[in-house]
């Protein structure tokens, strides 16, 4: 107040400049702060995921190509034009298949029936066995008049995608209905299963205990020999040879679906957690079924493998000590013992109790043969390989199945497994992506990095590729025959990508962070800063307003009271100009 006027003016000016610079910094900084502290979320193609869950752009369908070979050993009655007759037979087969399949879902396994022009000349079984079909989804039916004396229709399904239908009466009607019934019985249940799977109507089956393990690109098989004590004399087993002989062909065939790592171990002095009961009359010890769930001595038998992170399947041979043999599984004294003396734990593995004479210290390959056969059948169950010879429903004529001697399976079953696993993988990957979508939508705090986006996009591309591959599996790739396998590979990749996106370590929204907490953190910082800033701004504005009023008053006073204080006038103008800048 006592200062000279120009000095006050200069101070005012500096003060205003400082205030202005702070506010500019804040106004510029705010968007930067907003942008940099924002949760980074890469865009995920959720609409596309939603579309896929309806299968709106591509629905997986596994076309089956049925080649029908008619024997020309006997000509059909009334055959005038073989070309016409062939067409008639084909259309009749298709009609009959359609009318005889009340089950829905025929679009999942569309049938294409082709009558091979070149007639089949042989009538011997060997002629069929010599012509395997290597293409999954393409099957050859060889049809001939029955050669047996009983004069009845019979069907024999060979292991390499061939079937031999022997019809009782060599007429067009008989031939077509025999083919149609065979197709319906072999593929009918699979068709509905895939339909349910794709439409996600398998919820009621989900409640049931599933024996088969979930799909993985590799499994670890652990074969363990547990020997009760030294009294049974077991020292070693020829497991490697037994695996090579009995398991390897099967595993090699199955490796189109999954790879296998095999290991084995022997543990001595393996005791049970309980004493088996003695059946005095039969002179044998027995395990009642209610004890079997506790058969494995989890505390002492080391079964967990830390070698690989593959899902593991365990196969146990238990040789009881001499004072507890023979050891059988039966429900009580006097009851008939279990035929195989073995049982299966769903999704875990198989166990067999082996009773043997105590004099031989080495379990030989031939001694292991029945055990390996049991394990093989348990492994089939665990891998979800359905057994056609037991699952095909009864009909008007018998269907027999001939398994491959080495692999003990038919390629028909392998194809079924391939189709099932492809569908499961596709459904699972889309479900996983759907879960991911819900998760991201539910947790706004979660960071979604670019690799996640890439994984999701790639998974969708793989789903698409798999779907397209199976669509064209029968027609396009007759030469290579690997379309279905490629589809499996794509579906596996899709599942892996989807899971790696879902289980990505960055996808953890760290802590629940309520808004009150955010205020609690920002308040101590921002309140002390903002109070002087806001107050000084208000003060400046007030001053400016006051100065303006004063200037007005002065201006009006000047008008009335004449000329006064030029310098002040100039100063006022300057102030005004500065205020405009601030605005």
């Amino acid at each position: 107040m006592t200062l000279p006027k120009d000095r006050t003016a200069a101070q005012d000016r500096t003060r205003r400049m400082v205030l202005l610079s702070i506010w500019i910094a804040i106004l510029l900084g705010f968007p930067l702060w907003w942008k940099t502290t924002r949760v980074y979320r890469a865009e995920l193609p959720f609409d596309e995921v939603e579309q896929w869950s309806q299968w709106s752009s591509c629905r997986p369908a596994f076309p089956l190509k049925i080649n029908v070979h008619l024997s020309d050993a006997v000509s059909l009655p009334g055959s005038v034009n073989p070309q016409q007759q062939h067409e008639a037979i084909v259309s009749e087969i298709i009609n009959k298949v359609q009318s005889s399949s009340p089950s829905s879902g025929s679009q999942n396994l569309p049938l294409e029936v082709v009558l091979v022009d070149q007639a089949w000349r042989g009538t011997k079984e060997q002629d069929i066995l010599d012509r395997p079909s290597a293409v999954p989804g393409t099957y050859d039916f060889y049809i001939s008049p029955t050669s047996s004396t009983s004069k009845k229709t019979s069907v024999s399904i060979k292991s390499q995608r061939q079937g031999w239908i022997q019809v009782a009466d060599w007429t067009q009607d008989q031939i077509s209905s025999a083919v149609a019934e065979t197709l319906e019985r072999v593929f009918g249940s699979e068709r509905t299963k895939i339909q349910k799977l794709l439409d996600r109507q398998d919820e009621e089956e989900a409640a049931k205990v599933k024996t088969a393990v979930k799909y993985a690109s590799g499994y670890q098989l652990t074969f363990s020999l547990f020997s009760g004590d030294t009294s049974n004399g077991v020292r070693e087993w020829k497991m490697q040879e037994a695996i090579n002989t009995y398991m390897a062909p099967f595993l090699r065939t199955m490796s189109v679906v999954s790879k296998f790592t095999v290991e084995s171990q022997v543990q001595h002095y393996a005791s049970l957690t309980f004493q088996p009961d003695l059946d005095a009359t039969a002179k044998e010890y027995y395990l009642t079924p209610d004890k079997l769930p506790n058969f494995i001595n989890t505390a002492e038998w080391s079964l967990a493998s830390t070698v690989s992170s593959l899902p593991s399947l365990n196969f146990l041979v238990y040789v009881p000590p001499a004072d507890q043999s023979p050891l059988v599984i039966k429900s009580g004294p006097g009851a008939p013992p279990s035929k195989t003396n073995s049982f299966l734990i769903p999704r875990w593995g198989g166990i067999t109790v082996l009773n043997r004479p105590a004099n031989d210290p080495i379990l030989t390959v031939s001694e292991l043969e029945p055990v390996m056969k049991i394990f093989l059948s348990q492994l089939r169950d665990l891998l979800g390989l359905s057994d056609l010879s037991t699952s095909v429903p009864a009909g008007s004529f018998p269907i027999t199945f001939q398994k491959n001697e080495a692999t003990s399976m038919t390629t028909w079953e392998l194809d079924q497994l391939l189709r099932k696993r492809i569908s499961e993988n596709l459904v699972d990957s889309i479900k996983t992506l759907g879960s991911l979508a819900r998760l991201v939508a539910d947790t706004p705090n979660m960071v979604v990095l670019d690799p996640i986006q890439e994984d999701v996009t790639q998974a969708l591309l793989d789903v698409k590729a798999a779907c397209e591959k199976v669509q064209g599996s029968s027609s396009s790739s007759l030469s290579t025959g690997s379309a279905v396998e490629e589809a499996l590979q794509h579906s596996r990749d899709a599942l892996e990508k989807a899971e790696s996106a879902f289980f990505d370590p960055t996808m953890v929204s760290m802590l629940y962070f309520p808004d009150e907490h955010k205020y609690a953190i920002y308040m101590p910082l921002f309140v002390p800063i903002s109070v002087p800033l806001l107050l000084s701004l208000l003060k400046e504005l007030k001053k400016w307003a006051a100065a303006k009023k004063e200037a007005k008053a002065k201006a009006s006073a000047k008008k009335t009271a004449g000329q006064d204080a030029d310098a002040e006038h100039v100063h006022d103008r300057k102030e005004e100009a500065e205020d405009r800048k601030t605005k």
Partner: protein, 399 residues
């Protein structure tokens, strides 16, 4: 006294039930039929246990003893070590104040050494964090995490989750450093449900105001039980004067009293356990939340969660004719079997595969990887704050 009578009654009932079960099922002609009956209703094929002690330091001896007691129980009832994930500060057994080195006891007079010779602690000491716990449950662990630190459950797993420590209204403290809230827990379970990582969960928590911890769970098939209600403390049971600290909590002590009396074949149900809850013994109000659980509690066996009773299937068919064939080459030692890829794949798909492999290698993420951190954000933040601070200093000196 009264509770003793109750327990005795339960045990008697159990014996009767087991005897009954045996008589019903010992029909001599029916091995097959038995297997149908013996399927437990829970529909699980494997059991897992996650046991978490969130406290550390000597005076929290009892929390570690609680957890080790539960560990001993589930192991005794048949859950293998590979299926038990234990998170434990594990700092009392070898604490310099422990006059019984390398032991942990849960009762006065030290009748039973819980530490024993075969304790497998999966997350130890400072690894017991909220982050690790959430990652464990949701499966979002770093890629190089060993198998023993992963919860490898599937849609047919029953999981027993036990937590103990110091808690409050909707939170549980982790080692005096951080806390997990009821929301975090509910979210983690929901994510497990989304990915079908469990069949059923039994969540048990022993802490102050424990029942508030399960209020935010909203996923199906979860049964939750806690030791005390809102604004109520949970108390320790008794002290061992030789050790010098309380050795077990009341709630856990009385739960263990029930569990000690069952074995693998037991038909005792969860309802039996909950019936033994008694305010006079616990000095707090234990709670049970069963609205998310689909089965009646008097049909849910204790061994469905604390034990490892598996469904079994009798093998009756044998493959007909795999006979030895001399053509097959022997397998190489411990080598994975690979298919003949040369015939199966044409060139283009091989290339595609290679590309995918390379891609998947590129995307390896590790927690704390500097490439993934957002250094530039910190830099921008620092520059901005320096600018602001300078401006502020100038401004305040003038003002």
């Amino acid at each position: 006294m009264k509770p003793g009578m109750l327990l005795r009654g339960i045990v008697a009932a159990l014996c009767a039930a087991t005897a009954l079960a045996v008589t019903v099922t010992s029909n001599p002609n029916d091995v097959e039929g038995f297997f149908e009956k013996s399927k437990s209703k829970s529909g699980h094929t494997n059991n897992w246990a996650v046991l978490v002690c969130t406290s550390r330091f000597w005076f929290n001896y009892r929390h570690i003893a609680n957890t080790l007691s539960m560990y001993r129980t589930v192991k005794r009832l048949g859950i293998p070590d590979s299926n038990i994930i234990m998170m434990l500060a594990d700092d009392v057994a070898c604490n310099s104040r422990n006059i019984f080195p390398a032991t942990v006891y849960n009762n006065k007079g030290q009748p039973l050494d819980l530490y024993g010779e075969n304790v497998e602690v999966d997350y130890r000491g400072y690894e017991v964090t909220v982050e690790n716990f959430i990652r464990l449950l949701t499966g979002r662990v770093a890629k190089d995490t060993p198998r023993s630190k992963r919860l490898l459950t599937d849609d047919q797993s029953n999981i027993f989750v036990y937590m103990t420590g110091h808690g409050g209204d909707e939170f549980l403290k982790f080692q005096d450093a951080e806390e997990i809230s009821a929301y975090d827990l509910g979210d983690a379970f929901q994510q497990m449900y989304e990915k079908k990582r469990y069949n059923e969960i039994l969540f048990m928590i022993d802490t102050c105001q424990a029942n508030t911890m399960y209020t935010k769970i909203h996923s199906p098939n979860i049964l939750a039980t806690g030791s005390s209600k809102l604004k109520e403390s949970s108390y320790s049971h008794h002290e061992d004067f030789d050790i010098g600290v309380a050795v077990v909590d009341r709630y856990t002590y009385y739960v263990l009293e029930v569990l000690e009396k069952i074995d693998m074949q037991s038909k005792a149900t969860l309802q039996d356990l909950f019936n033994t809850y008694d305010f006079n013994l616990l000095h707090s109000t234990p709670g049970v939340r069963k609205d998310l659980f689909n089965r009646p509690l008097d049909q849910a066996l204790l061994t469905d969660f604390f034990g490892s009773v598996q469904n079994i299937q009798l093998t009756d068919t044998v493959e007909s004719s795999p006979s030895p064939s001399s053509i097959d080459a022997p397998l190489p030692d411990s080598e994975p079997l690979y298919p003949d890829e040369t015939a199966a794949l044409d060139n283009s798909s091989k290339e595609a595969e290679k590309k995918l492999v390379r891609r998947s290698l590129e995307h390896t993420f590790e927690i704390g990887n500097p490439d993934q951190s957002q250094t530039w954000r910190y830099a921008a933040f620092i520059v901005l704050s320096i600018g602001l601070a300078g401006a502020l200093a100038a401004g305040s000196s003038v003002l």
